[in-house]
């Protein structure tokens, strides 16, 4: 009941204030009159009585003020009044407000954007059912010195039969297929999956159903599941698609359903399973009976309920040990499996980059906040007189703080709102320029939690920002301020602001060094010689369906005609084809090899295998080290030959020539290196996986001895790619209109992909550094302008005594240089430490690279000098007498 009464009173205080005021006034007036009456009765005349009455009451206004504070809700009213006052005050200095809000918007906006992105990529769970129970099983080859690899069909069967801690294992492998009918022939990225793949992930089709046991066959697939984009693009979003038959690789296949728009796979990057597979089909039932050494399956598992990752990991290791024992073909090397969490593995590569970006943007926010705090301190100093007046009129220090707080909150609030807009804009930009490794970025959005966090941060920021000028305000001796001249806190005030600026300069050095290191990294990556040339090379893929090219001869004949015609196109200087392009997204092809008879196969090293046409090396500009390239004579009737790379030659036959040596390899992908070949040539190593290092040895087969389908054509041309493409399509139109070419891209684009993440990070950190230096310069300008104003007298006296203007300016610039020197001195060690944190992202440059530090320091000093020179220059332009007179 009383609560209701109190609420009612609160209502009256807030909304019926004028009435309350009137009543209070009436009440006090009546009290005054009563008191006056008493004094009159006691014998005083009216005037004296009234005066005595007022004295006795204690001052009407004072009493009213006391009563007002006792009203419920008065605290709120006071704060609202302070907000209004702060609003008016801020409106009175628009330039300050604009600068402060822009600064805050940059800092808060950039932070919100980066943290939203980091959140989306690093923390957002995968869009599957219970995604934290999903794991990836890798074949561990690190003992043999290689990155991890896939599993084979029999190994998948072993996992299923021998494990008890998992509810299921399923597998996927990405390949290509041609789809015809209902439009132009098209080459699809297709995922072959095991039967329970989609139920394992816990995802359903949006239309129809996913693949299931009724679609299993012992031969080629008879059922296909479409992706939403393929369904919309090729079939016009036909709602009756389920049950329709389409032609895949010239065979009729039934469409069972369509996956939802948002469905994406998000496998680890080195699994070579693209996010955007366009269709899925089932492996045939003979998968578990395949060769044990034919490893191509990407295996996903789901932990049984309640099982811990550690226990599952141990079981997997035990299973590997078990099959090493049970199957002698693993030999002495044995087999090892490794378990990783599906989510963590997917973000493994980008996590360092994102963390570096998060750190960088936080530094930027700090600099921005310091700037605004510094501006507020300057304002407080400028308003010393005004504050002194307030205190003299009875406002307590608490009220001053309340007002500072109100200003801080208004600024921070406005800054945060501007920040959200900036963040939206930044996010659009970033999502647009994202590299493939950050594919999940597209789900990043300014979700509620991030906005809430920003709002909270703004409040805290506002509170902290208002403390900055508060210190200044509280310290001032108001009496001395009112008596004239500047307050007693000016030197302390300068020291405070100078300290803040030094912090900004130091932080800017950190960002500058970081940016410099990353720029160098990108430059070095660009200078890496990957063993081939990519300028002016256009690539495309072409697959020959077995139904129309059933024999090797038929395929060879087509290929020869095609290459001839391609070579005849205007502007084309060279044509070649290879089975996999550098930095390709499709699964790698590798083979174990033996360099001498009798070597233990299980301990054999592994080499990347590629099938190439005779002219491919020339077209790619690869370097011949020894021997020769392939010729037309290297075909399926002649002696089996290979070309190896330098690393293989060095490892297998150290100190000897590799030409004429014999190698056992596996061009037919049987799982065992059983074909003995002769080495006819050695090429320089081609960097095809990463720009930063040589990964594996390489073996090249002539395409006539190791037929691969599809093949990737590389055309060296001076012509414009679009003209060339239509030329190619024209040729195909004549030779075989049913053949589509797909993924027409410049070779340079594939190489750029390898640098993409580094470039992304570099651009961002460079942007941060630029903004940081700008903000710091603004800070320096502000401090120096203040100092110049404070020393105006001194400067005027010097000028009047005959000093040259340039000397006086130099004096001020020296002061600025002092700030810069301290900033650099503090910043360089900090930058050194930070550089070590991003060490593993650098390439071709050490964290302590002197050239970078040597350029960052002077750059900042230069900027500081410029920022100190400007206010000094302006000041000496004023007539000295004027300056002396005005004060």
């Amino acid at each position: 009941m009383l609560v209701l009464t109190k609420l009612g009173s609160l209502f009256r205080t807030l909304f019926r204030k004028s009435r309350l005021e009137r009543e209070l006034d009436d009440e006090l007036q009546s009290v005054l009159e009563l008191l006056t009456e008493r004094h009159v009765e006691a014998g005083l005349d009216r005037e004296a009585a009234r005066r005595a009455a007022r004295l006795e009451l204690g001052g009407v206004e004072q009493v009213k003020e006391e009563v007002r504070t006792s009203w419920i809700g008065s605290g709120l009213l006071t704060f609202l009044r302070d907000l209004r006052y702060a609003w008016r005050a801020l409106c009175g200095s628009p330039s300050f407000v604009v600068v402060a809000i822009i600064t805050l918007a940059l800092g808060i906006g950039a932070n919100t954007a980066i943290f939203s992105i980091a959140n989306a990529v690093l923390r957002e769970p995968l869009p599957f059912k219970d995604p934290d129970r999903l794991v990836f099983v890798w074949g561990d080859m690190t003992a043999a010195g290689y990155p991890r690899g896939p599993l084979s069909g029999p190994e998948l069967k072993d996992l299923r039969e021998r494990s008890s801690l998992f509810s299921d294992f399923q597998a996927i492998w990405a390949t290509t297929a041609t789809i015809t009918g209902d439009g132009d022939p098209e080459q699809l990225r297709i995922g072959l999956v095991t039967t329970g793949f989609f139920p394992l992930l816990g995802v359903d089709a949006a239309l129809g159903r996913t693949l299931s046991i009724e679609d299993e066959t012992t031969a080629a697939p008879t059922a296909i599941l479409l992706s939403a984009s393929l369904w919309r693009r090729r079939y016009g979003g036909d709602p009756g698609i389920a049950g329709r038959t389409v032609l895949v690789n010239d065979r009729p296949v039934m469409v069972v359903g369509v996956m939802p728009d948002a469905f994406k796979l998000f496998m680890p990057p080195d699994a070579s399973v693209p996010d955007d597979l366009q269709a899925w089909a089932l492996f045939n039932k003979t998968l578990p009976q395949g060769p044990r050494g034919q490893m191509f399956l990407r295996v996903v598992g789901r932990l049984a309920p309640g099982v811990t990752f550690q226990d599952a990991s141990n079981e997997i290791a035990a299973i590997a040990a078990g099959i090493s024992r049970d199957f002698p073909e693993y030999g002495a090397g044995g087999r090892a499996f490794r378990l990783v969490s599906l989510h963590d593995d997917g973000v493994r590569e980008v996590r360092p980059a994102l963390l570096a970006l998060s750190a960088g943007v936080t530094i930027l926010l700090l600099i921005a906040c310091v700037n605004v705090a510094s501006l507020l301190v300057a304002r407080a100093a400028a308003r010393q007189r005004e504050n002194a007046l307030h205190v003299a009129l009875g406002a307590g220090r608490a009220r001053l703080f309340s007002r500072c707080l109100a200003e801080g909150i208004l600024l921070a609030g406005a800054g945060a709102m501007a920040g959200v807009l900036t963040a939206r804009f930044c996010m659009k930009l970033l999502v647009g320029m994202r590299p493939e490794s950050l594919a999940r970025l597209e789900v990043a959005s300014l979700d509620r939690s991030v906005l809430l966090l920003t709002g909270l941060a703004a409040l805290v920021l506002g509170f902290l920002l208002s403390l900055a000028p508060l210190g200044e305000t509280l310290r001032t001796r108001f009496v001395s301020v009112l008596q004239g001249g500047r307050g007693g806190g000016s030197s302390m005030h300068y020291r405070l602001r100078a300290g803040l600026v030094v912090i900004q300069l130091a932080l800017s050095i950190v960002l500058l060094v970081g940016a410099g290191l990353l720029v160098r990294t990108v430059v070095e990556l660009g200078r890496v010689d990957p063993g081939f040339r990519w300028e002016g090379r256009l690539t495309f893929r072409l697959g020959l369906p077995a139904s129309r090219y059933p024999t090797l001869a038929a395929a060879a004949a087509f290929s020869r005609r095609f290459q001839e015609e391609l070579g005849a196109l205007p502007g084309v200087t060279s044509v070649g084809a290879m089975s996999h392009l550098p930095f390709d997204i499709l699964p790698n092809w590798s083979t174990t090899y033996l360099s001498a008879p009798g070597q233990d196969e299980s301990l054999a090293r592994r080499a990347d295998s590629r099938a190439v046409t005779a002219s491919l090396f020339e077209t790619m500009g690869a370097r011949l080290v020894e021997g020769r390239f392939f010729t037309e004579d290297d075909n399926h009737t002649s002696q089996p030959v290979v070309i190896v790379d330098e690393s293989l030659a060095r490892l297998a036959w150290p100190g000897r020539s590799a030409i004429g040596q014999r190698l056992a390899v596996d061009p037919a992908v049987t799982g065992h290196p059983i074909t003995w070949v002769s080495v006819v040539g050695v090429v320089g190593h081609l960097r095809i996986h990463t720009l930063t290092e040589d990964v594996r040895e390489q073996v090249f087969f002539p395409v006539r001895q190791a037929l691969r389908n599809p093949m990737c054509y590389v055309v060296r041309t001076e012509a414009d790619p679009a003209t060339l493409t239509s030329g190619v399509r024209g040729i195909l139109g004549r030779l075989d209109p049913q053949l589509p070419i797909y993924e027409v891209r410049l070779l340079g684009d594939y190489v750029a992909r390898a640098r993409a993440t580094h470039r992304f990070t570099m651009w961002l950190i460079a942007a941060f550094a630029l903004v940081a230096v700008t903000l710091s310069c603004v800070g320096v300008y502000g401090v120096m302008a203040y100092s110049v104003a404070a020393r105006r007298h001194e400067m005027a006296v010097r000028l009047a005594l005959g000093a040259r203007p340039s000397a006086v300016v130099a004096l001020m610039v020296r002061q600025g240089l002092g700030l810069a020197a301290v900033g650099v001195a503090v910043g360089v060690p900090a930058a050194f430490g930070a550089a070590h944190l991003i060490e593993d992202q650098l390439f071709g440059v050490r964290p302590g690279d002197l050239a970078i530090y040597g350029s960052a320091g002077p750059l900042l000093v230069l900027a500081t000098v410029a920022a100190s020179w400007l206010p000094a220059r302006r000041a000496v332009a004023i007539e000295p007498l004027e300056a002396l007179r005005a004060d």
């Binding site: 009941m1 009464t5 205080t13 209070l24 006090l28 009546s30 009290v31 009563l34 004072q62 006391e66």
Partner: protein
């Protein structure tokens, strides 16, 4: 006398006002007069303390102020105790008794 007086009254002014109004409805000045009278001048409540207290009590619902014509024909705001106020008075009286007893115990302890 003034400073010590304020400290004393801070917690107990409400109690004194409620008690005074329990006997008879009065206007603000009369409440101060009555307290001054009853304590034979030992306690003087200044307007700066009295009126905030009155308003606070009124906003909380313990007393209610109404504008009436005094016998001398003047408009005054007269306060009277509400039912809730009566309950509050009883509560505060008990509290006060407990405090006094406790303080006495401390003072009389050896």
């Amino acid at each position: 006398m003034g400073a010590r007086q304020n400290e004393l009254l801070k917690g107990t002014l409400d109690l004194l006002i409620l008690r005074t109004l329990a006997l008879e409805a009065r206007h603000g000045l009369a409440v101060a007069d009555r307290i001054h009278q009853t304590t034979r001048g030992a306690l003087t409540v200044k307007a700066g303390s009295l009126f905030p207290a009155l308003h606070r009590l009124e906003q909380a619902g313990f007393i209610k102020g109404t504008w009436t014509e005094s016998d001398l024909g003047r408009r005054v705001k007269v306060y009277r105790l509400t039912a809730a106020g009566r309950r509050r008075l009883a509560e505060e009286r008990r509290n006060w008794g407990r405090i006094v007893a406790a303080v006495a115990q401390v003072l009389d302890a050896c």
